[in-house]
Amino acid sequence: MSKGKGNDTSLSRRDFVKTGAVAGLGATGLGGLVSCAASGQEGGQAWDRTADFVIVGAGTAGLAGAVSALEHGASVIIVEANYDIGGHGILSGGRVNLGGGTSLQRTHGVEDSADHVFEDWINHESLQSRYSDRAMVRAFADENASTFEWLVENGVDFQDTLISSGGMVERQSRAFQWPVYEELITSYPTRHGSGLIRALEKKARENGAEILLLHKMTRLVREAPTSGRVLGIVAEHEGEEVRLRGTKGTLLATGGHTSNVHFRRMFDPRLTEEYQVAGEPYTPQAADGELAAMAIGASLWSTANQTMEAGSWISKTAHIGTRWGYGNLVWLPDSPMFDRTPGSGLSEVDWQNAIMVTDMGRRFYDETGRGHGFYNAALAYHGNPNKLDGGGPIWAIFDADAVARQGWEIGPPYVDPAGDWFFMADTIAELARSIRSPYQTAPMPPAALEETVARYNSFVDSGIDEDFGKPTPRNRIGRPPFYAAWSTPILHDSLTGLRTNPRAQVMDLNGEVIPGLYCAGETQGGFAQHGLARCIVFGRIAGREAALDGQMV
């Protein structure tokens, strides 16, 4: 903080502290600033800003934490690394898996209870609940219904429908998409998470939360490196350090680790750099919260959840020929993200119209297949000595007839044939030669791709896929030109993160609470539930716990 001319309040305060010391001024005039500097100064530096509760990440869990802390009387500052709030929450479908006997469930005649929620999410027969920490699930279940009502009270507008959630009863509700067009990150009509997130943002601001955009937390400040209370954070803003003190607590709600290649490979070394992540490029799941907390002694928790080979932490590319082809998330040309992506991809792929090949030009699975059998095959070793870990890029290969059947338009705003994710050529051999991508670590052998296509075409003639059992292969790949479109699986959820107790307090490797540090959202470990519900419940718990710290029994 040395750039300004003194009109920056934090700078003038800092100068004041320095000058004050020289001039021998008493501590009284500076109030809280000096008292915290006395106990919590790190390296002789004081705080730039102070609030009761400092929240890192203005996404789902962070905003829930803010609204909750404010309603319990705490002051709140949120730091957000991105240029706008919302994280993955604002991009989401806005389906909220909260039940346990909500008013919405009652209107629809559905009987539910906290116990039912608990039982569903600890069911040992499901891989997706087997490895969760049951104390965490219990807390989640107990606060399910009340958290739903709390969202409604705080301005979230839910549709009058219940959606099945696979458990004993129907639980999921869905928010309405936010009505203010200018405040959407994507106007794609299914992105209802905007309604949830903007409503929470509005409430938090109304109640006095300050949101510092383009402030990226770089580390936590603890009294001693691995002991004592967490006092606050250091963030970076336009190349400068900003130090924020959270007198009652600090919440890490940074959204998980999936985009961090080194971090995700701790759990599964196959998850190398070629795998993109849902929600990018709006916000990455960079593991900032996890790394900052681990640096001061925090523990991870329930790591089996990250490798359970069930559920959808990985999925097929829904929009091929782009690296940003996740499910329902389409970056339309009116989105502020559109110019950061080379196109929205070719959508609604019927895999009878294309085959999928590895970087070495070979098929590896029934293209119409799904699930972890498919993913394991995609992530396997495919004979490229330059690529021992991870499966390398997966390419969809198809012909002009497929384009006609699909009704695809080749070119912008869908695909960019001059870019890294989509290629076209007059022959199959030339197509293989044309594939150049940052993740294609060796040229695709043209002869291998020619052989693959000729063999597949013979399966179309016979109606039997002798290699991978694709149900009745229907269409030859024959009519030029030919196309190769990026179809590498996409990663999604972080299902392992920091250990907390059911009060969302972060714990260290000895199982002790790290005082003053809270965590919620995908950065939190212990509960392998996909999505918003657990982020909101534990965000709400964290805000309340921090605000009432010491006053709760």
């Binding site: 959808s312 059947r405 007059d426 051999a429 030859r476 030029p480 030109p481 999505g531």
Partner: protein, 317 residues
């Protein structure tokens, strides 16, 4: 600044050196160019602006003089490979010259590359299957040169499994629609005898004239079947509305067809028992087994598959 006859009594000469930024590609396709970037340096660090590098061919003939750019650099100097195949050498020469008052010595750099023929590759499409044994059919064969040469008028051959030539065609004037330079021709063929599957190949061998082109080949497969006995009409309708479904892919054993706007596909097949179903994106049908003993019409009901919401799939448990 340059002087072709430097004064030998002047100050001692400065040695010079030519250096490539990157080594040249090991191979270059005949008649195409490679681009090199290089620097001339003088031991004493003189600015050599105003001088030029001479490019000589194998015979020592001057091809071009390329003036040096600032910082004694020469960017993207284009060298064109000859139209014959084989080892190729260019000499880059910085001729002796005067810069200011100082003689700069001659230096030479030899650039070697192998001139290779253009790569070609082939495509085969419009392959019917099954075809009636011992009867005529045709396929379309296309050839593309890596440098997008005009290949029209050149010939392609089709060979059977034993390598025996069974068909020939002359590539047509204009490239196939939607391609950059894929020259193609429909090649008439005759199906072999017997019920079987076959793997034949097409082969392109370039004419001796013009730029050298490597050979290429591609395999294609097809099946042969008995002559048809009956004509079968397959009608595909939408289950809920009974409306005809256009563009559905119909499969009756090995026989395939696509429905027209009336939802009809016509197939000519031998007597026998067949599996019958249809496929169209967004629909599903039930596989049925049918017996063809006469001219007949079969009906397939296609049920619209509800669109899966990707968010739905993310809901666990």
């Amino acid at each position: 600044m340059t002087d072709p006859s430097p004064d030998v009594n002047a100050a001692p000469a400065h040695p010079t050196k030519l250096e490539l930024d990157q080594s040249p590609p090991a191979e270059v396709e005949a008649g195409t160019t490679i681009a090199l970037s290089l620097r001339v340096s003088c031991d004493a660090g003189c600015d050599l602006e105003g001088t030029a590098v001479h490019v000589l061919d194998e015979a020592g003939a001057l091809i071009t003089e390329a003036p040096l750019e600032p910082e004694n650099q020469l960017n993207d100097l284009e060298l064109r490979a000859p139209s014959r195949v084989g080892a190729t050498i260019w000499s880059l020469v910085f001729p002796e010259c005067l810069v200011g008052e100082v003689v700069h010595e001659r230096s030479t750099l030899i650039v070697r590359s192998e001139t290779i023929p253009h790569t070609t590759s082939a495509a085969v499409w419009e392959v019917p299957s099954p075809v009636v044994m011992s009867s005529p059919f045709s396929v379309r064969v296309g050839v593309k040169c890596s440098a997008s040469c005009d290949l029209s008028g050149q010939s392609v051959r089709v060979r059977d499994e034993d390598g025996v030539e069974v068909g020939e065609g002359i590539l047509e004037e204009t490239p196939w629609q939607g391609t950059e330079a894929l020259y193609s021709v429909e090649v008439p063929l005759e199906a072999p005898e017997g019920q079987s599957s076959w793997s034949w190949s097409v082969q392109f061998t370039s004419a001796a004239t013009g730029l050298p082109h490597a050979e290429s080949s591609a395999n294609f497969t097809f099946r042969t079947a008995n002559p048809p006995d009956h004509s079968v009409a397959v009608k595909v309708i939408q289950e809920d509305t009974n409306d005809p479904l256009e563009g559905a892919h119909v499969r009756l054993g090995l026989y395939r067809g696509r429905t027209d706007e009336r939802g009809l596909a016509s197939l000519a097949v031998p007597k026998g028992e067949y599996d019958l179903d249809a496929w169209k994106t967004g629909y599903e049908t039930v596989l049925q087994t049918v017996e063809v003993t006469d001219d007949v019409t079969f009906e397939i009901q296609a049920r619209p598959v509800p669109e899966i919401d990707p968010d739905e799939e993310q809901t666990w448990m």
